[in-house]
Symmetry: C2
Subunit: 275 residues, 2 copies
């Protein structure tokens, strides 16, 4: 039997066997997605989303996901509670909580929807003249925590600094090709994780060390299953930039594009920092 992809292992949740806890799932942090301390937030986001994906009452596909990181996630088991708080004809609203021994470590809200064909248009502008992924060198992940090693990142602009030389840059914009490593066919869970794979903009901008931690992450899924299937396991184009840094918090915004120029997801996050 083929070995499971580490991402599939990371989001492999177990539904509660007890009849009186139909909304409970359990999961575990995965060493392949470890961060400096605790797990990569993208994997935690994907686990939170996955609870709703696996829930027997789920309708439709995710269109919006907001994850709030309430406390450091400890390595080990996580208990999830996923409640469909409102189910309409074509939309469904979720509140999802992640618990560990000492309390709530993350919360999420999600909107799922049954989509229909409508007038469609991409108004955002995909970066032009970007070289193909096979001619852009892959970022070396030497010395990085485990999670970035689970991504193949090829920076066209705004690379993670090779050294923290404290040379402040004019902007924090990054453009990169990115995919799971090893290759894996894109799905909603991996798109949710990819949305948290943009390095904190303050590192790109200031090129100096800072304590950081995402406090809130919102992703809008523009892609539906057929579009994800078209992308398959190829690289997607990521774009990220910061908007504002002020008094301990900054926000950054990102886009994930299919090679053919469809916007798969737009994503926004607020990050705590201590300089």
């Amino acid at each position: 039997m083929a070995r499971m992809h580490p991402f599939d292992q990371a989001i492999d949740l177990r539904a509660s066997a007890l009849q009186d806890t139909p909304h409970e799932f359990s999961g575990v942090t995965h060493p392949a997605y470890a961060n400096l301390i605790g797990p990569f937030g993208g994997t935690t986001s994907a686990q939170l989303l996955q609870c709703a994906m696996l829930h027997p009452e789920r309708i439709g596909e995710p269109v919006a996901l907001t994850v709030n990181f309430a406390a450091p996630v400890a390595d080990g088991e996580i208990r999830f509670v996923a409640r469909p708080v409102r189910t309409n004809r074509s939309t469904q609203h979720w509140i999802i909580e992640a618990h560990q021994a000492e309390g709530v470590v993350a919360t999420a809200t999600a909107v799922f929807a049954v989509r229909r064909q409508t007038w469609s248009h991409v108004e955002a502008v995909m970066p032009a003249n970007v070289p193909a992924p096979d001619v852009v060198p892959r970022m070396s992940m030497n010395g990085m925590p485990a999670w970035p090693q689970r991504y193949d990142m090829r920076f066209v602009e705004g690379a993670f600094p090779a050294a923290f030389d404290e040379q402040e840059q004019a902007h924090s914009r990054s453009t990169l090709w990115v995919r799971d490593e090893p290759e894996r066919v894109l799905d909603f869970a991996s798109l949710a994780a990819l949305s948290d794979s943009f390095f904190p903009r303050i590192y790109i901008r200031l090129r100096r060390r800072a304590m950081i931690g995402t406090v809130s992450l919102t992703t809008y899924f523009h892609a539906d299953s057929p579009l994800l299937a078209q992308v398959g396991s190829r690289h997607v184009l990521g774009v990220a930039k910061a908007l504002n840094y002020r008094h301990g918090y900054f926000d950054q915004t990102g886009e994930l594009w299919s090679p053919e120029g469809q916007l798969l997801a737009s994503t926004h996050q607020l990050v705590y920092f201590k300089d």
Copy 2:
């Protein structure tokens, strides 16, 4: 006694008098902020935020708010449940629900924080060469629902179409000066409401009628109390644009700027549409 501002009336919540329901608040929709059907979503957002603001266990000030609109809000009473699910030394995480007779009508998550001075920088670019609010004509609100009449909007670009002439525009970008009408000193609640005051981008872009409804609204508060006090009751500069329209949903992103060029809030929403 001076008459209360209609916005203060709209967000005037009553804490539960019962000892066993410390997290409950009740409010009521306000006719001055009525939309075509039910209340303006911005007022509902402000009420949800206000629950946390009024809660005796609250620490700090809001830095992130996500509101999901789960079902149409009926005119009348709303029961709110606001739970501080995690309180750390300098951050606090909330889950807030709005209930009416038939069930949950909205949910919110919020992050509050005690801020500290750090390196600060505005990376987003405020529109340049914008004429002062007193030389830009105020938008006529004739024939509009009640809520836009509670705002003084002065469009520099991307005005609400005078007629739905179905002339598709090249983009959906709007730039406008906006403040409460009558004037009111800016606070977190009104900033939350302002974040939902950008008209749906599809009207600007397509200039045709469409059924729309915001499903999820996220606001990052870059302003703290001292900065809000500096703005006072003056106009703030709003900028909004859409990113992607696809299969029944589009997202739009907005910024609210102080006259002096501080980014007060960045805001993002996902909107259902039927064309």
